[in-house]
């Protein structure tokens, strides 16, 4: 009897408290007066210490719209944004990472931006291909590019090339030779056998691996490839066999970082900084300077420069993160205008989004402007408020001229890259793509270390991929 009483009490508590749990999915939009306040969830916005609040105030002054910014921890941004959406807490506008865009676009939680884009004067200066990268199959565009996605270029130790009397490689054979010499001919002249030719990251989202492997992959692609108007699986294309052979060869000779399978981008980068490796493909732009400076920290005579791709290889321009407006926005046109049109206004708005606030992030210097030290970290100059000034889309010239190296790397990239597209998968894609890529990574690594021959590996991949509905996935992509 006593037990039953306790049980009933418990049930009572549970029932009494359960209304708290009724999960709502968004709020009903009542007819509203003019909207003067919007909620945003951003990733790349300024840190608190760097003046986020001042930025928001300046934004309000410029647009007349108050913006409430939520900036979740960067490392967990995708998870937190996902949880936020899943619980029905949609902001008015948010930043969506490249890899998640398609999922959000298909979810029905975003507003189509086509009419706003057509009506927008500033958007006309943005290259159409950058905008259309976000166009879904139904013709709707659910995201607007924050900036030119950019891409990676190869960085190389110029001082090592000089020490070994080598020119900048332009063909595979030359590049291969450079890697060999970097590994075995003591390019830093310290008498130690402690250098390798090339390093790269592998512990990255599988779809991002192709950003960092262009010299070796060349025309092949690890992920899904848009070829001749159709989507194919790069791993089963003919070019992949040659690419895998190249990987195998480099691994066997030891001229590539043999532990790259566990490299994050930071691990790989530090090998360049510390002079353990001589070549790495990484993001063009501000990283050109960072590589050079960091390498100089270790060895004052180091020089890191960006170079053009070798014959048959080309860089890729990724689809960048997007601004998306959700169905919770009471006045999407206003949100679009306040954020996106301001960002592209080639005037005060664009300055705010890139350089930040005068007197806090940059200041007048004679006839021009210079960046001030970063408030949170005065040892370094401040580089961007929201979007990278070296990645502007509409041809606007930044107030502060970027470093030569930066401009050079961007130039090289622009001249030598092809625009990537977003694969728009269906239900099979969502169900199986995670496992497909996991399996692909495993097979790839086993081929590279020589455990499988190239042919055996590719056959094994095909077999496993068939079990993971690859054919259905491709059919959905090509619909």
């Amino acid at each position: 009897m006593k037990k039953a009483r306790v049980l009933i009490c418990l049930l009572g508590v549970l029932i009494a408290v359960s209304p708290l749990f009724a999960g709502g999915q968004g709020e009903s939009a009542a007819a509203s007066p003019k909207v003067t306040e919007i909620n945003a969830v951003f990733d790349r916005i300024l840190l608190e210490e760097n003046g986020q609040k001042d930025w928001a105030d300046e934004f309000a002054a410029l647009t007349g719209v108050k913006i409430n910014i939520v900036k979740p921890a960067h490392n967990q941004y995708p998870e937190i944004l996902g949880a936020t959406f899943a619980t029905g807490d949609l902001p008015d506008i948010c930043e969506i990472q490249t890899g998640d865009y398609v999922n959000y676009a298909r979810s029905g939680t975003l507003v189509a931006l086509n009419e706003f884009i057509d009506a927008s004067q500033p958007a006309k200066d943005v290259p159409a291909e950058l905008i259309n990268a976000y166009k879904m199959k139904d013709g709707n565009i659910y995201g607007f590019p924050m900036y030119d996605g950019g891409g990676c270029v190869a960085y190389i130790r110029a001082d090592w090339l000089e020490n070994l009397d080598l020119g900048v490689p332009t063909t595979w054979d030359e590049f291969h030779n450079v890697l060999r010499q970097f590994t075995f001919s003591d390019p830093d002249g310290n008498g130690e056998n402690d250098t390798i030719g090339m390093t790269l990251p592998f512990d990255v989202p599988a779809v991002e691996f192709d950003y960092y492997n262009r010299f070796i992959m060349q025309e092949a692609m690890f992920g899904f490839q848009h070829k001749n108007g159709r989507w194919v699986d790069g791993f089963t294309e003919p070019e992949m066999a040659a690419a895998l052979t190249r990987f195998q060869q480099l691994y066997e000779e030891g001229v590539i970082d043999t532990e790259f399978f566990s490299n994050k981008t930071s691990t790989a980068r530090s090998k360049i900084y510390e002079g353990q490796a001589g070549v790495m493909e990484y993001w063009s732009g501000t990283w050109a300077v960072r590589f050079d400076e960091s390498a100089k920290n270790t060895n004052p005579r180091a020089r890191v420069i960006p170079i053009a791709p070798i014959k048959n290889a080309s860089y890729v321009n990724r689809v960048g993160p997007a601004f998306s407006i959700t169905v919770a926005a009471k006045d999407p046109a206003l949100v679009f205008d306040a954020v996106i049109n301001t960002m592209l206004d080639k005037g005060k708005g664009e300055v705010l989004f890139t350089h930040g606030i005068e007197g806090m992030h940059y200041r007048k210097d004679g006839n021009g402007y210079v960046m001030m030290p970063e408030p949170a970290n005065p040892d370094r100059p401040f580089d961007k408020a929201f979007s990278d000034p070296t990645l502007v889309m509409n041809g606007w010239a930044p107030l502060v001229a970027p470093d030569e190296l930066i401009t050079l790397s961007r130039q090289i990239h622009r001249d030598n890259s092809i625009q990537l597209l977003l694969p728009q998968g269906g239900d099979n894609y969502v169900k199986y793509v995670g496992e497909l890529f996991t399996m692909k990574q495993e097979v790839f690594s086993k081929i590279v270390i020589g455990e499988y021959s190239v042919q055996k590996g590719i056959d094994l991949y095909r077999k496993n991929a068939a079990n993971l509905h690859l054919a259905d996935i491709l059919a959905e992509l090509n619909v």
Partner: protein
């Protein structure tokens, strides 16, 4: 004569044992210590990234610690950690010990049910999103309460504490009752003091839990990063994700990263000696004899 011989034999084997034991302990300590030492030594080394392992830093510097002590972005999370650890542990110890004591009453009706209630929570986890929803509905988002309350009791520690409580002989409790002690009085004045080793252990566990908490901050405190604790900061220092090579703390040198790690271990290093005396053998069980 015979007795003396027996005693000396005993002490020889005993001595051997002591030597063997000490050597083994030293070996264990070395294995544990080498990686930790690397972190500690590298925190003083300007050029830490270059070395495999050095006993003496290549380029000694106190810069890293100076940076930590001087930058608000660095010492504020540390203070937050201290605050939440102290407050959180207090809350947890209170809730847990009271609940455990209730569970320890052998004749309490519904005791088994309540016990299983706690047990089930050890294996069944609803998942991130349902919990997130509840926290939201309770209005705890973006406050330290979320972090302090959401995981305030751990069923494992609860059971351990209950076990410690049940080992207290009935006779002592009865004696207290006869002396006119209320249940609360008995609990506070008799049971708790007798359970010091158990309480010390569980207390230490909670301290560690609160000190190391990290995910709860990130998911429940989104609009006020000034409330994040040291672990959150430490992680953003040591790892980063790959979205266009985002760089929140690009200035971090190896030595700073290591110094931050050392700072995160300090509280335990300092706290432990105080707690250790509760683990010393031979706690006064005088009450039993009487």
């Amino acid at each position: 004569m015979g007795v003396e011989l027996k005693l000396s034999k005993e002490s020889v084997s005993r001595k051997l044992f002591v030597v063997a034991n000490s050597t083994l302990m030293l070996a264990v300590v070395t294995v544990i210590l080498v990686p930790v030492l690397k972190v500690a030594i590298d925190s003083f080394d300007q050029r830490a990234s270059e070395t495999v392992f050095r006993v003496i830093p290549r380029e000694f510097t106190l810069d890293a610690y100076r940076v930590i002590a001087s930058r608000a972005a660095l010492y504020r999370p540390f203070l937050i950690s201290l605050f939440t650890t102290v407050v959180g542990t207090t809350i947890s110890m209170t809730i847990t010990s009271f609940f455990a004591y209730g569970l320890a009453q052998r004749d309490l009706p519904g005791r088994t049910l309540l016990l299983y209630l706690a047990l089930v929570t050890m294996v069944f986890r609803a998942g991130m999103i349902p919990l997130f929803l509840v926290v939201r509905k309770l209005g705890l988002m973006n406050t330290l309460w979320a972090v302090l309350l959401v995981h305030s009791m751990d069923a494992y520690y609860l059971l351990l504490l209950r076990n410690f409580f049940t080992t207290i002989p009935r006779s002592i409790l009865d004696a207290a009752e006869i002396d006119g002690c209320s249940p609360l009085g008995t609990f506070v004045r008799v049971v708790l003091p007798l359970s010091r080793p158990g309480l010390a252990a569980i207390g230490l566990f909670y301290v560690v839990f609160y000190w190391n908490q990290f995910f709860d901050y990130i998911i429940y405190i989104q609009t006020r990063p000034q409330l994040h604790n040291f672990q959150v900061f430490l992680r953003s220092l040591v790892i980063e994700t790959n979205t266009q090579g985002f760089e929140g703390f690009a200035f971090a040198t190896q030595s700073l990263k290591n110094a931050a790690v050392v700072a995160s271990i300090l509280p335990v290093l300092i706290l432990y000696p105080f707690v250790q005396k509760y683990f010393v053998k031979g706690i006064n069980l005088g009450a039993i004899k009487g």
